[in-house]
Symmetry: C3
Subunit: 306 residues, 3 copies
């Protein structure tokens, strides 16, 4: 693993497996009454969020606190105009606090990579525009590994707005690296051209969904309607909603959250045993603890969490 | 006490007295230089606030920190449309962090009760719509107990907008349970019909205020004017403002804050020795430590705070 | 040093030097892997910010956390109407938490001084309107001392909107107290009348900038344009921008941040070795640790940080 985690491409299969091993230890810590290890005591983690994200930011915050770090949360409305120079000045300012890591969520693809040039801190990409969201992919791989033992040979369908999704991008890479085959499915307007070059199959209906072992449903951003990528929520749901009628026995359903109930996913599926959505959230803390630990300590975990 | 604190009705008199005993110990902790005990070290408390509330949220945050818990603050603009399903998904997401307790403030009556079905965490109601605000009632009982030794036989007047007040609802229950008699007083439009069924007397002028040992003044929400419950601030103040001219020697004045100075309460009363308003705030931290401790540890406090 | 830090005038030269000594120790702590000392363990610090300020508030927050204090951040939109009574009630409420210190940032000159009458906590002025910002001045003195050994005999130019700047006010006092001579420079509309009574020279062009050892550039608030203090950003930059063409070899450049790149300071100067801007931010944490420590502990630092 490089000094930073910007893309799933920073990790080969062995690297991902190391994160999974660490995450397993930290999931055990999070299951204890005292959910805390002293690994990062006295070190500073900055969470720099240019987009609202209760879910991801609280997950990173909790991961850092369970490692005993001091956390500084910086939220910024931000705007694309501010992008260039002011991001640089913000990062240089925060770097003067000598943080061990900067976790950055940004609407600009490439922001996480860019700031590595301006800081000595380890940089963790918590989502950069439509580019990548690598800790989401890692927590999804971890969740599947916990549920099924591994991803080798799994057939995974990713359903929805693949075109605009950083989650899709990171997850395609990670799922394939761990031995799964990936099919993307959605309206042709929401499937990037040339997706086959990533080694995925593409489908524009759910007709063959039965072949999937795992159905990974993406959130439909409401603004896509205004941009005319999809006609109406109702029509989208009619064609692409994953619901009980379209699933077969034994299929697993995942979603990165937050879900639009009754749009991309039906309420009864969300609440069924088929859905691993809560397990994904739980995995998030353990995996983010693992990533921070791997980047900042990198020593055998057993010495630390024992 | 049940696993949760949703309503004052979750506590019988013995339960309230146990909280008061614990709060006494924790008030002593908060008076030390090192205002901290390790009781909840490594445990996670989520503060989920769907309404802005600097006062209540900082009080709960500090209570949790003084018990050494890790605190995650989630603030949401929220809207009544979001209410149904999305509250469920939010609570399930947060529950995946395996918090020891979720403290919830919500504009929807019944929200705190409802989420107990979706989480293994202890739920503490920090105010749900016009329903209840039980920790406010407990801190008021604690404040009166500290000041006067107990509530048995006290005559307490609650003055103002009783109709819309969760504080009034919880405090009527708690004051009576501890042996006080309660009279509510306000414009007829702001007194709920049938309030006598709760065992209260009702008055529509302050003429007999002299009979009260304790005058508990409610905040007048500015929006009541627009809704035509009261004519003007000026007229409301003329008839119902608690001020020096209307008080007699020896009466105690309380208010849950924040006060509209010069509306429901005159500045000189706020700043006088008759007012216990600062003591109420101070009690808030101790009582919330006690509630969290009782729900999450429930062991003899002396072993822990010694 | 008094019990509070409201103005640079609360410190004589010996007092400033004591803060510098403490800051030196704490800068060493911030350079360690474990950036933490137990000096304020179990004590509560309230950060009360009536103005948005990521930079100053995160610096104080981190300083308090590195001293092991529990921090409560209160942010308020606030408005000048709220000023009088409600500031009093807010401070009394927060004081009921028995905080060791209240750090206050406010748009009202005099707010920090005023609240000392309403609380037993030590009050630290983190900027009050156009009045003072003493920790900024102290961190600037510390930065210069680290870079140059001391300020005795230094010639410092302060360039820009001196009229509206609390930084200018505090820095003039602090720089002079430490033995420097200060010249202020800017458009006549932005230089206060009678500034000479503070012992400064005044200039309205950068023609003689070469005589300065240190060029301290102030932020140009965008709203000054609307108020017609300066014609246009472009014209301001033409006359008063500090850039490479106007600097000579060996001059040091400082700025309290955040910088308007290309307005009061050119990008190439910001990014050059002449600029101490990042060092100023780094100094901020150490100096604020020192101020909190001096006010709240006041014992020989070596006993604590050893």
């Amino acid at each position: 693993m490089s000094r930073h985690l910007i893309s799933i491409d920073d990790l080969d299969r062995a690297g991902i497996e190391r994160i999974l091993d660490l995450a397993r230890s930290f999931a055990e810590v999070s299951g204890r009454e005292i959910k805390k290890v002293p690994a990062l005591k006295g070190r500073t983690i900055v969470n720099l969020f240019y987009e609202a994200s209760t879910r991801t930011s609280s997950s990173f915050e909790l991961a850092a606190k369970r490692l005993s770090a001091d956390v500084v949360n910086i939220r910024s409305a931000g705007s694309s105009v501010d992008k260039g120079e002011s991001l640089k000045d913000t990062v240089r300012t925060l770097s003067a606090y000598d943080p061990a890591a900067i976790v950055i969520r940004s609407p600009w693809a490439g922001a996480a990579q860019q700031i590595t040039g301006w800081t000595d801190a380890a940089v963790v990409n918590a989502g950069d525009g439509k580019h990548e969201h690598p800790t989401q992919a890692l927590l999804d791989v971890f969740t599947l590994t916990q549920a099924l033992g591994g991803l080798e040979g799994l057939r995974i369908w990713i359903v929805g707005d693949v075109l605009h999704s950083r989650v899709a991008r990171s997850n395609i890479l990670a799922f394939q690296r761990m031995g799964a085959t990936v099919t993307v499915c959605g309206p042709p307007t929401l499937i990037p051209r040339g997706i086959e070059s990533l080694g995925c199959a593409a489908q524009d209906t759910l007709a063959n969904l039965g072949e999937a072992d795992v159905v990974y449903v993406l959130r439909l951003q409401q603004e896509r309607m205004q941009e005319a990528y999809v006609p109406t929520l109702r029509e989208y749901a009619q064609r692409y909603q994953v619901n009980r009628a379209r699933l077969r026995e034994g299929q697993i359903v995942m979603h990165p959250g937050p879900v639009n109930r009754g749009v991309e996913l039906s309420g009864e599926v969300i609440d069924s045993d088929a859905a691993l959505i809560d397990a994904q959230v739980k995995s998030g803390v353990a995996v983010r603890m693992a990533v921070l630990y791997e980047l900042l300590v990198g020593a055998p975990v057993l010495q630390v969490v024992a």
